[in-house]
């Protein structure tokens, strides 16, 4: 089973991200489960959502305590919420930021992980430019797909179109695809270095 925990703030599309990822996995023929961390959600408050992906039916309904991957939509949460709790040592982290892990003050966490499984990218900026809205969630899913290979980008794109029909879907597809390219370039840069 592959487990993803998504952290962000109300209004950033945290719950939609988990749901869309689960639909992508479903369209890819896997079993998937997505659910929010049921708070009294409101704009700006910290929000967590979860997604499990497996080849067998998923029975557990408890929150994900030991994620294989973290998506962090808002880097200001880094020092407010215990984001890295339970993260597997060979896990993945995707952070929506222009800064580096070191600049964010989480170089220590990064140092314990496999470098090629960590990614920062300015997803809000990409979303604003490509979609016209500062909602980074689908951008980050494109990056996660490329980084982890847990679902193919095509499945993410198909799920995005289900969620956002028409031109908005096209824009989200373009943004997710750009993010996947960003993740690929980052990996290639590491390999070259």
């Amino acid at each position: 089973m592959f487990q993803v925990r998504i952290h962000g703030r109300g209004g950033q599309g945290v719950v939609t991200a988990a749901e869309t990822l689960s639909v992508a996995a479903f369209l890819d023929g896997r079993h998937a489960q997505a659910f929010p961390s049921f708070g009294s959600e409101r704009m700006g408050a910290p929000v967590v959502a979860f997604c499990r992906i497996d080849d067998r039916p998923i029975r557990s309904h408890d929150p994900i305590a030991e994620p294989d991957a973290l998506i962090i939509l808002d880097p200001t949460l880094v020092h407010q919420v215990n984001l890295f709790s339970g993260l597997q040592p060979d896990g993945y982290i995707v952070v929506n930021t222009e800064r580096t892990f070191e600049d964010l003050g989480i170089g220590g966490v990064a140092a314990r992980m496999r470098r090629e499984r960590l990614l920062t990218l300015p997803a809000t900026e990409v979303a604003q430019r490509v979609i016209g809205r500062p909602v980074p969630n689908t951008v980050l899913l494109g990056a996660l797909a490329e980084l982890t290979g847990i679902v193919p980008l095509g499945a993410v794109v198909a799920a995005v179109h289900r969620r956002f029909p028409g031109a908005l879907g096209d824009a989200n597809e373009a943004a997710a695809t750009e993010a996947a390219g960003y993740a690929r370039a980052a990996r290639e840069a590491l390999t070259d270095a």
């Binding site: 689960s22 998937a32 408890d62």
Partner: protein
């Protein structure tokens, strides 16, 4: 067709497939998505001639359901928590009148203190109100049980409450198979009311009954309810034949063969429990589980049969009878073989997650005989020590912090 959808949306589709004629509800978290989705279907005309009636409270939601059902319509509503308590008087009227209303309860804690999260306190508060209560273990069973609920309700003329864990199921997006209309139509015939209020042939229902016959009225209601225990397995089998998917009916066993320790539970904890049991079995601990699907009337014989080989029983309750312990535990105690140690575990109150890790820890302790008669899963004693220290003297006991 199997789809990746939210539990609430799946329940709404299942209810829509049952062709309700009147849906009325008052919004309350975490039930709201279900009736919102049904309202949208009524508005777009796909549920015609169904009427969606906006009401001013839960009391009105049940009262309108009663009127609709007594008028001969298939009636559905949904609620949770304080909403269920607010309609309590009408809940008893629905069963007293023998009206086959189906209601979803998206299980949620009851205040005070206010809490919007999941536990079973609401359904438990009305467990003996004359309604059949079915508990869904996952979203697939939530879908399947709603369709079976209409059949059961109408065959018995008894209202049925389908209890679905708020948030953990209602808000979870999963692969769920919602049957097609043809299969549901073949399983669930149109509603033919036993009695029907008709202005052209006026009758009175629910009139005053005095001491000379009230006991007999209750006796008949009791007898009718007990029939649910015979009927539910038949209905489950017919449902399985119609949609090609099985369901056990009263209870659902998991790895009971040779299990020394049997864990009895209901609701969404079942899936997590099954995963915990697989891990414990791998470690050589002989443990199995029993999910109670039909909670009212309580299937005492089926539970007794399932516990026949148990040397020790653990019962997980997602609600607390304050000052007593667990509701389910009290029921299971009636069914457990005499002399078998039974441990009630209070878990997951007010939305506290019931994790696989905690269940494992608890069951390991139980298997070593270390669990008390009443245990509390993940109780944070640091939060209560100071309060408890003030309790024994009696004079300085004060009510404030409990509500804080």
């Amino acid at each position: 067709m199997r789809e990746q959808i939210e539990g609430s949306q799946a329940v709404a589709r299942a209810v829509a497939l049952c062709r309700p004629q009147v849906v009325c509800a008052y919004p309350i978290t975490p039930q709201t998505h279900i009736v919102e989705a049904l309202g949208a279907r009524v508005k777009e005309g796909s549920l015609a001639p169904c009427q969606f009636i906006n009401v001013e409270s839960e009391f009105a939601a049940m009262s309108v359901s009663i009127g609709a059902s007594a008028g001969g319509s298939r009636a559905y509503t949904a609620t949770a928590s304080q909403g269920l308590l607010f309609m309590a008087e009408a809940v008893y009227n629905a069963s007293g009148l023998g009206l086959p209303i189906v209601m979803t309860v998206a299980n949620r804690a009851i205040g005070a203190p206010i809490n919007i999260w999941n536990d079973h306190s609401d359904s438990m508060a009305l467990r003996d109100a004359g309604w059949v209560q079915l508990f869904a273990a996952d979203n697939q069973s939530a879908v399947d049980l709603h369709i079976q609920a209409f059949r059961l309700a109408e065959e018995l003329s008894v209202p049925v409450m389908v209890c679905v864990d708020g948030f953990s199921l209602t808000h979870a997006v999963e692969g769920i198979d919602v049957p097609d209309q043809e299969s549901v139509d073949s399983f669930l015939p149109p509603f033919v009311p036993r009695q029907r209020l008709d202005p052209d042939e006026p009758v009175t229902i629910g009139a005053m009954v005095g001491p000379e016959a009230f006991t007999e009225v209750r006796y008949l209601a009791h007898a009718r309810m007990r029939r649910a225990l015979d009927l539910m397995p038949v209905i489950a089998a017919e449902f399985a034949a119609a949609v090609g998917r099985g369901g056990g009916g009263l209870v659902e066993p998991y790895r009971l063969e040779g299990a020394d320790l049997v864990v009895v539970a209901q609701g969404s904890v079942i899936g997590t429990l099954c995963d915990a049991i697989d891990e414990l079995r791998d470690e050589g601990i002989s443990v199995g589980a029993l999910a109670v699907t039909v909670y009212r009337p309580f299937p005492v014989d089926a539970v007794r049969a399932a516990l026949a080989g148990a040397r020790r029983v653990v019962v997980i309750d997602r609600a607390l009878a304050t000052g007593e312990g667990g509701f389910l535990a009290a029921d299971v105690r009636r069914a457990a073989p005499a002399g078998t140690p039974l441990h009630g575990v209070i878990a997951g109150l007010g939305g506290r997650p019931v994790t696989r890790a905690s269940l494992r820890r608890c069951l390991e302790e139980a298997s070593r005989g270390l669990l008390g008669e009443l245990a509390w899963l993940d109780l944070d004693t640091t939060l209560i020590e100071k309060e408890l220290a003030g309790l024994p003297g009696g004079t300085d006991v004060h009510a404030g912090p409990h509500a804080g």
